[in-house]
């Protein structure tokens, strides 16, 4: 039943916080790992319709069975939560804070599954807020000055986005008397101006939540200031589910791939891809550079969606999945560097590859995939997006996508040279490879990146082709 994906983690959080002492609360870590692995494993099992629709006895919300893209997202949620928990558990100091961290991650995981499965506009809003509130607390958890500032900025912009989303929901409610996707779509089809305005407000709210330029101001601050485990979680999956995936869902179920929607998506996507790439070029902080890179990559996803043809939607879906894998990988590497050297300033680092061979090597895999070098997975998804744009007649946007890809390669190679290659500075001469909590997810994620690239025809047929169905929903 699809609702178990939401209800089980929430019940787990309640059970894990019963007052049985500190040792009992520590169970949050194995419980989170178990839920994440279970979730990914269930998606990969070769069973048709793994999560069928069934009315949930415990809540009034409607949970649909996930579509092809939903399955892909559930799989990514599992993988990223697994990596974030491993790294975050190791890097959090105090015992009590460790269990808080794990509990909040499990709660956010329930919220994200809810976003993926929700069947109407209002429950979508409820689950978006569950994820957002857990992330606010996670970012601010260290209570240092930067973390509080990043969290406050996120709270403000997220609240504004929420206001826009809620106004849009109430306009739809006023017009149709219902919050379901189909009623909203019907109101739009009649050409009602208020409905057009409402869907515009909804999309802008989601663009803010997804950190798409020019609404990206909060994103680098939040990613940079958050503790390492939380950055992995935020960059890997949170903003991608609450912002980007939800836009795909809204466009597929409510607005349809119509002319103005495509124009808006293409424009914001291209701005993001370029602005993110150029801003990443002159960053000194490792995590901040990765945050801008994240904005740029999300631009590709939005552009692929804006192409509005089957290739574009498949490319967007596959790039969303790939981004969850390789960006998580790069953030895990940055966490390993931070753990061993205590700094993320790229000017002070250098030559770490000799001392940290696993981190250095997996980072090369991830950066080549991000930059779109064959035969890694990122190459195929970028190729799909670019070809889709070209075929759809948006040749200028296709050229922008190619150009942003070149800039991506430039800043990532510069990062690799400054952090992992070159001469090591004297103060770091006695560091060693980070522990297994860092190398295990790093190796796992780079294996997925290589496998999804090399066995692309198989992955494409099994996971990506079904995503086309999104185009025919309206």
């Amino acid at each position: 039943m699809s609702w178990t994906l939401v209800v089980v983690p929430i019940i787990a959080v309640i059970l894990l916080n019963l007052p049985f002492g500190e040792g009992y609360r520590k169970l949050a870590f194995p419980a989170g790992i178990f839920l994440a692995v279970l979730q990914s494993a269930l998606v990969l099992l070769p069973i048709e319709n793994m999560f069928p629709y069934g009315a949930c006895p415990l809540s009034p919300f409607v949970f649909l069975s996930p579509d092809a893209l939903g399955l892909l997202m559930i799989l990514s949620v599992g993988i990223v939560v697994f990596s974030a928990l491993l790294v975050g558990w190791r890097m959090t100091d105090k015992t009590s804070r460790k269990s808080d961290f794990a509990n909040l991650i499990i709660l956010a995981m329930a919220g994200m599954n809810g976003v993926i499965l929700s069947g109407d506009l209002f429950s979508l809003y409820v689950f978006l807020e569950i994820v957002a509130v857990s992330s606010f607390i996670l970012i601010a958890m260290d209570k240092n000055r930067e973390a509080l500032e990043g969290s406050f900025k996120y709270i403000m912009l997220s609240a504004v986005a929420t206001i826009l989303i809620l106004s849009s929901i109430s306009v739809f409610l006023m017009l149709t008397g219902s919050t379901s996707f189909s009623a909203a779509a019907a109101a739009l089809k009649q050409g009602n101006h208020a409905a057009v305005l409402a869907s515009g407000l909804f999309i802008i709210g989601l663009l803010i939540k997804g950190g798409i330029a020019p609404f990206h101001g909060w994103l680098p601050d939040a990613y940079t200031s958050a503790p390492a485990g939380v950055s992995i979680f935020l960059a890997g999956i949170v903003t991608k589910t609450t912002g980007i995936y939800t836009i795909i869902k809204l466009v597929s179920y409510v607005t349809g791939y119509t002319g103005p929607v495509k124009e808006i998506l293409l424009f914001f996507g291209a701005v993001s891809a370029l602005l993110g790439a150029f801003a990443a070029l002159d960053q000194k902080n490792f995590k901040r550079m990765l945050a801008y890179s994240s904005i740029s990559q999300m631009g590709y996803v939005i552009m692929g969606l804006g192409a509005g043809n089957p290739l574009g939607v498949m490319g967007a879906a596959f790039h969303l999945f790939n981004h969850a894998i390789f960006k998580t990988q790069l953030f895990v590497n940055s966490a390993a560097v931070e753990q061993e050297t205590g700094t993320l300033n790229m000017d002070r680092l250098g030559g770490l590859s000799d001392k940290m061979p696993v981190t250095g090597a997996t980072s090369v895999v991830a950066l080549l995939s991000t930059a779109g070098v064959p035969p890694l997975s990122g190459f195929w998804s970028k190729l799909l997006v670019i070809v889709a744009l070209w075929v759809a007649g948006y040749k200028i946007y296709a050229l922008i996508a190619v150009f942003a890809g070149v800039v991506t390669l430039a800043y990532l190679l510069s990062m690799q040279r400054r952090v992992f290659f070159g001469n090591i500075s004297a103060s770091f001469s006695n560091i060693k490879e980070a522990g297994v909590s860092f190398t295990l997810p790093a190796v796992l994620l780079s294996t997925i990146t290589i496998a999804a690239g090399v066995f692309f025809p198989y992955v494409f047929e099994k996971l990506i082709i079904p995503v086309q169905a999104l185009l025919g929903l309206l």
Binding site: P60, F122, V126, E129, A132, V133, F136, I137, A140, K143, N144, R145, E146, L148, E149, G150, S151, F152, K153, I155, M156, A159, V160, T162, I163, L166, S167, I169, S170, V171, L173, M174, T176, G177, S178, T179, P220, D221, T224, S225, Q283, K284, N285, R288
Partner: protein
């Protein structure tokens, strides 16, 4: 549309935009962090009123009540967390001025 509904609607058409403008004005102009949160509260109240109006106009008051109660619960959680963050910012800076929280740049 009955006389009563029309009158109510006119009232809402005047006051809803006013509340929205007041909220946005508060969020944009103030430098005090607590006042920013109050501005967000005002905006949320405007949205809540809109939902109530929508329920009344479409005759689905039971549904809009359920939505509004859910909305209020979530809003309280968000504001509580935000107030916690503001409190901690105050402990660090000894001030509530938004100009003091600009250490992140680039």
């Amino acid at each position: 549309m009955t006389q009563e509904t029309a009158q109510l609607l006119r009232l809402y058409i005047v006051f809803l935009p006013l509340i929205f403008v007041a909220g946005f004005y508060c969020v944009i102009t103030t430098r005090n962090l607590i006042r920013t949160l109050l501005g967000l509260e005002i905006l949320t109240k405007a949205v809540t009123l809109m939902l109530a109006l929508a329920g009344y106009l479409t005759g689905r008051t039971a549904m809009s009540q359920a939505l509004i109660i859910t909305l209020i619960v979530i809003e309280v959680v968000v504001i509580a967390v935000a107030a916690g963050v503001v409190l901690n910012i105050f402990r660090h800076n000894n001030s509530l001025d938004a100009r003091n929280i600009r250490s992140l740049k680039g």
